[in-house]
């Protein structure tokens, strides 16, 4: 048995276990495209914002984006925490409790985020926000470029900022079921595809492939065929763009999308549907509607 890790001091949290992937995120670093830098930020922005509101933080405070649970934190001081995103169970010093509410942690309390039964990403907000070195104005980890703080590791000690605003009056924010379908708008290159492509995009139950990350969700299903065969000169991309590379299998770009791309974008998700796309996990069936 290894010796116990040093206790975090006041205003600190100890990461006992990070789980499969735990990253610091805020609302990203928009406005850096001229450097070839993606906006990044929390993949599920509404969940990130809600977590912050539940602990009385400004919405752009730094949270921990947790993929498939597994995160275990130990509090150094009395701390208010909220976990949102994929609905999941939490263990607060061994006691089972639910996500989507404001929790009070006493010094030494241990908080464990269980793997969610559905959905992918949880957001852990701490009252006062988490402090980390900013890169180009943001503490977000961009997995495509590697900009931002490193993924969390066991033994990391996170500094907590000072609380600004009041705690909210309501400390519970129940979450409903995910939307059955994701909403699309026609993309700038819809006319690059043949007449079957749009009905096929809307009419298929797409399977989410194993290879997904913060850059993109890849979908498996029928090929979307092009009418225009020439190469597309590189053009800007946005979060939620549904791009069809040479393989004919569409992908949905998420927060860490590249600044420009050379394959046609047939559709774009609405903002709310982008947040829902950030909760897709391998094997899920996803359908679109216009």
């Amino acid at each position: 048995m290894t010796s116990p890790a040093p206790s975090p001091g006041t205003g600190q949290l100890l990461v006992e276990q990070p789980g499969p992937l735990a990253l610091l995120q805020d609302l990203g670093r928009p406005g850096q495209a001229h450097l070839g830098v993606s906006p990044s930020g929390a993949a599920d922005r509404s969940a990130h914002r809600l977590a912050n509101r539940l602990v009385g933080n400004p919405e752009d405070a730094v949270t921990i984006e947790v993929t498939l649970g597994g995160l275990v934190l130990r509090a150094g001081a009395t701390t208010f925490v909220a976990v949102t995103g994929a609905p999941t169970q939490l263990r607060l010093s061994g006691r089972l409790t639910g996500s989507h509410c404001t929790l009070a942690l006493r010094p030494g309390d241990r908080l464990a985020v269980e793997p969610p039964a559905r959905g992918l990403r949880s957001y852990v907000a701490v009252r006062g926000g988490l402090l980390a070195p900013a890169v180009l104005g943001s503490c977000s980890r961009d997995v495509l470029s590697g900009l931002g703080p490193d993924p969390l590791r066991a033994g990391d000690v996170l500094a907590v900022g000072h609380a600004a605003g009041p705690l909210p009056d309501t400390d519970v924010a129940p979450t409903g079921p995910p939307p059955p379908t994701l909403r699309l708008l026609p993309g700038p290159r819809r006319d690059w595809f043949d007449d079957d492509a749009w009905p096929r995009l809307l009419g298929t139950g797409w399977t989410v492939a194993t290879e997904l990350d913060r850059v993109a969700v890849r979908l498996q299903g029928p090929r979307l065929e092009r009418r225009v065969r020439s190469e597309l000169p590189s053009e800007g991309l946005v979060r939620g763009a549904v791009q069809v590379p040479a393989s004919g299998a569409p992908l949905i770009f998420l927060a860490d999308h590249p600044v420009t791309g050379g394959y046609p974008v047939i559709a774009v998700l609405t903002e709310r549907s982008c947040d829902a796309a950030a909760q897709l996990r391998p094997g899920d069936t996803v359908r679109f509607h216009a």
Partner: protein
Amino acid sequence: MTRRLLGYGESAVLLECADLAEALSLVAPARALPAVTEVVPGARTLLLRLSAPLTAADRERLLGLPGSPPADGSGEVHRITVVYDGDDLADVAELTGLTPEEVVAAHTGQTWTVGFCGFAPGFGYLFGEHDRLRVPRRRTPRTRVPAGAVGLADAWTGAYPRSGPGGWQLIGRTDVALWDLRRQPPAVFQPGGRVRFEVAGP
């Protein structure tokens, strides 16, 4: 080709232009519109990120404004030293009908301008003064291109700030740190910047 404004989701539009020069000439007018929060140039487009929908007057302006003439090429010229020993130099020679020495001379003998950035932090798409080095991308992209690799694709040249996948024809490598967060600005290649490549000394 006439300019078009293409819908791009709830918070953006794509302005498609005849070519890169026209697109770049519209960056400043586009940026000046109140609803535009960011302009992201591409090879012949401008992606406009919006805080509100464009007004009809905005749209008319973007579609009708004559492009402003290109800048007169004032400003610093970055000198990038290159060792021209890239794996694809021979292929580029064959594709262009030049000898490898003539490829190097064509690369170093013109001033290149950064059209736009994308793909990765610090990665610039540079256009030159003529078309003699126009080559297609590699049929099969490499899974790993070394950091500093200098390449060609279409009529662009560029250099990879760090190692990663890449499909351009590699003609050399540079030691210049193209991306460095400790520096302000962190990217050597910024839109509008001018560059000349030089054969690295012994």
